[in-house]
């Protein structure tokens, strides 16, 4: 039974990915890619990785989908002309077809070699899950994934928040959108009602996820993604205008979480090494960092969608 469910889910994943990349029409490609995101969330659920299922659902359906659809809206001018379809079919001329064939062959060979290699893998010599379980008591949290994310490999997470911040700074460097802003349609009253109903619940759920992160799947990323999704919904319902370049307070909000994390990391140097949480205060410090990260990640992820979105282009 399980293998049948997993097998079918894998087939669905491959089909939706293939159709998304090979579909002639751009809009259908984006919709199928969003479906691929949903199927990935189910796959993570089957791989008993609930944290990732949560993150995939929150970021995949909520944010990446909205980002792609917004980009799609800008690409296809509303002038009735069908989208500049660049058909994904291989080009007509012979050289093009040979090139496509050879690349497909190389990719196929790579996949075959990797698949063959996967079956010969010996059992791994180092067993990290046992080590994580052994050190769980000193990590200050009860949920293993949060312990690894914030404590054992907290340095990865510090750099990763920097990656998110630098993506936003890259966005600011580019300034207002040159493409046609997605002119909002007529205000949809039902959408405003839905937004007023859902947004408070989303904020409550984000708080719940942040708090749950210490002892069960949840945490700053999923909570931040949920806050960002709430901001996206408000923007789509035209209750929240697009952001121009951020003022002093918004910049503090954007970089605040990262600065808190950096400050704690530097302060903990006195404990002997970077990010060495004293076991007694580890839980409290992690919660402080996660709270700061939730707010900042929510603002950054919302900023990735809202910055210069729909800003009228002043030529």
């Amino acid at each position: 039974m399980n293998l049948l469910l997993d097998g079918l889910l894998v087939l669905a994943l491959l089909w939706s990915a293939w159709r998304a990349l090979a579909s002639p029409d751009l809009a259908r490609a984006v919709v199928l890619f969003i479906v691929f995101g949903l199927l990935m969330a189910l796959a993570w659920a089957r791989l008993n990785a609930p944290d990732i299922a949560l993150a995939e659902a929150a970021i995949g359906a909520g944010l990446t989908g909205a980002l792609l659809l917004d980009a799609l809206g800008r690409l296809q001018p509303g002038t009735g002309a069908p989208a500049p379809e660049s058909p994904a079919q291989p080009p007509a001329n012979r050289a093009g077809r040979r090139w496509t064939g050879s690349v497909a062959l190389v990719a196929g060979l790579l996949a075959a070699a990797l698949a063959y290699a996967l079956f010969q893998l010996p059992a791994p010599t180092v067993r990290l899950p046992e080590q994580v379980a052994a050190n769980m008591a000193a990590s200050g949290v009860d949920h293993p994934v949060t312990a690894v994310l914030l404590n054992f490999r907290g340095y990865d997470t510090l750099l990763e928040v920097a990656v998110l911040l630098i993506a936003l700074i890259g966005l600011l460097t580019l300034g207002p959108a040159a493409g046609r802003p997605a002119a909002p349609g007529p205000a949809n009253p039902l959408l405003k009602a839905l937004a007023r109903l859902l947004v408070p619940l989303m904020i409550l759920s984000a708080g719940y996820l942040l708090w749950a992160g210490a002892h069960r799947p949840g945490g700053a990323f999923q909570a931040g993604a949920l806050l960002a999704a709430a901001a996206v919904l408000l923007h789509l319902a035209q209750l929240l205008p697009a952001w121009a370049s951020p003022g002093r307070l918004l910049r503090l909000g954007l970089a605040g979480g990262f600065l808190i994390f950096l400050g704690v990391a530097a302060a903990l140097l006195a404990e002997g090494a970077l990010l060495t949480y004293p076991p007694a205060q580890a839980g409290g410090l992690i919660l402080l960092i996660e709270a700061g990260l939730t707010v900042s990640l929510g603002l950054i992820l919302a900023g990735l969608f809202l910055l210069f979105a729909g800003a009228e282009e002043r030529p």
């Binding site: 669905a12 949903l38 609930p50 509303g78």
Partner: protein, 92 residues
């Protein structure tokens, strides 16, 4: 734990795929947007069944998040498609 959850999850997945193939191939743009509807209902249903088929309570949180966000993908698409339609043309 009625032992029914896993087979029902499989049944839902079959439903989801059949509906997706139909929606993806649907001629008009509106048909394609039906795929967005499936998120809310079938996607959440599957996550709930998987939660009780051994996936554990956290999957219920995932279902809650998906239920909250299902509207966004659908509305973002409608908003974008709606914008296209005001000027009349369509790629149907």
């Amino acid at each position: 734990m009625t032992g029914l959850e896993a087979p029902l999850a499989l049944f839902l997945l079959v439903n989801l795929l059949a509906a997706l193939v139909r929606a993806a191939r649907g001629p008009t743009a509106a048909d394609r947007m039906l795929a967005a509807l499936l998120f809310g209902s079938t996607g959440v249903g599957m996550l709930l069944l998987l939660a009780y088929a051994g996936g554990g309570a956290p999957l219920v949180d995932a279902a809650l998040v998906l239920a909250l966000l299902a509207a966004i993908a659908g509305v973002a698409f409608a908003q974008r498609a709606w914008h296209r339609d005001r000027e009349g043309g369509d790629d149907a």
